[in-house]
């Protein structure tokens, strides 16, 4: 004799979803505003052009060195004097320790002398940061 209790009073119970898009938008805007993209301005350089260029796979592993026409050198946000290039070695080494997959992106002005570039490369070699990338623009035609 199963007593079947039929509950007639069904509780209506629902979360209002009408304002969900608004909440999502507010979240989106919040994160858009608070996200800071770490980007260094560096020096003003005119990059050379090349055809066979590749994309750098991840920005996370990239540190940038700028060298401009007046042979000024900037790594990420530190200015390095040409006379004190050993500092560059220490900085590069520190960065490599922090991130073993480091790639150095060289943004060198097309009018810069190779002498500076070679010296910078020597310091990078001594710091064991061997993966470099010469930034270039896509050559048209």
């Amino acid at each position: 004799m199963a007593v079947q209790i039929k509950r007639k009073t069904k509780l209506k119970f629902s979360i209002p979803t009408a304002s969900m898009p608004d909440i999502i938008f507010q979240l989106l805007i919040f994160f858009m505003v608070t996200t800071v993209l770490r980007e260094y301005t560096g020096l003003q350089v005119t990059l050379p052009e090349a055809k066979k260029i590749e994309k750098l796979e991840s920005k996370r592993n990239v540190s940038t060195i700028w060298i401009d026409q007046k042979n000024r050198i900037v790594i990420d946000d530190v200015t390095v004097k040409y006379e004190k290039l050993t500092e560059l070695r220490n900085i590069a080494y520190q960065k490599l320790v922090d991130n073993p997959r480091l790639i150095i992106s060289l943004r060198v002005d097309e009018g810069a002398d190779m002498g500076v570039v070679i010296d910078v490369q020597q310091e990078l070699r001594k710091a064991n940061t061997l993966r470099v990338n010469y930034s270039a623009l896509q050559q048209v035609g």
Binding site: P21, A50, I53, D113, M114, K126
Partner: protein, 136 residues
Amino acid sequence: MAILNKRQKEDVEIPSSSLADIAFLLLIFFLVCTTIDVDKGLKLVLPPPDVTQEQIHKKNILNVLINDVGEVLLDNEIVNVRDIERIVRDKMAENDKLIISLKTTRLTKYRIYIEVLDQLKRADATRISIAEPEEV
């Protein structure tokens, strides 16, 4: 005067049901239009610092020298920058162990260096080595 009694209250309302659609269209438009500036360039792995002078057979080395005025010498012969790709391709076909040693002087302009490196990359040369310039 019953006509004055007519309530002329019209519901004036901006339809807001399509607001979300408009917002999404805008979002998609900006998503499509935005190009994030990616770093592009020529990849190269520098030789390790204290490398013991490996003895490579001389005929497996192709010396590329760029001099002060931007002339390119392939094994001591002046060549046009645009011909490098073809020549290197031919030489690599002859000898698959070929290593290219790229050397510049201190006064070479960076632009020429990148041009030559680009030519070498176009010739699908993978074994490129950077040589130090002779100290003057």
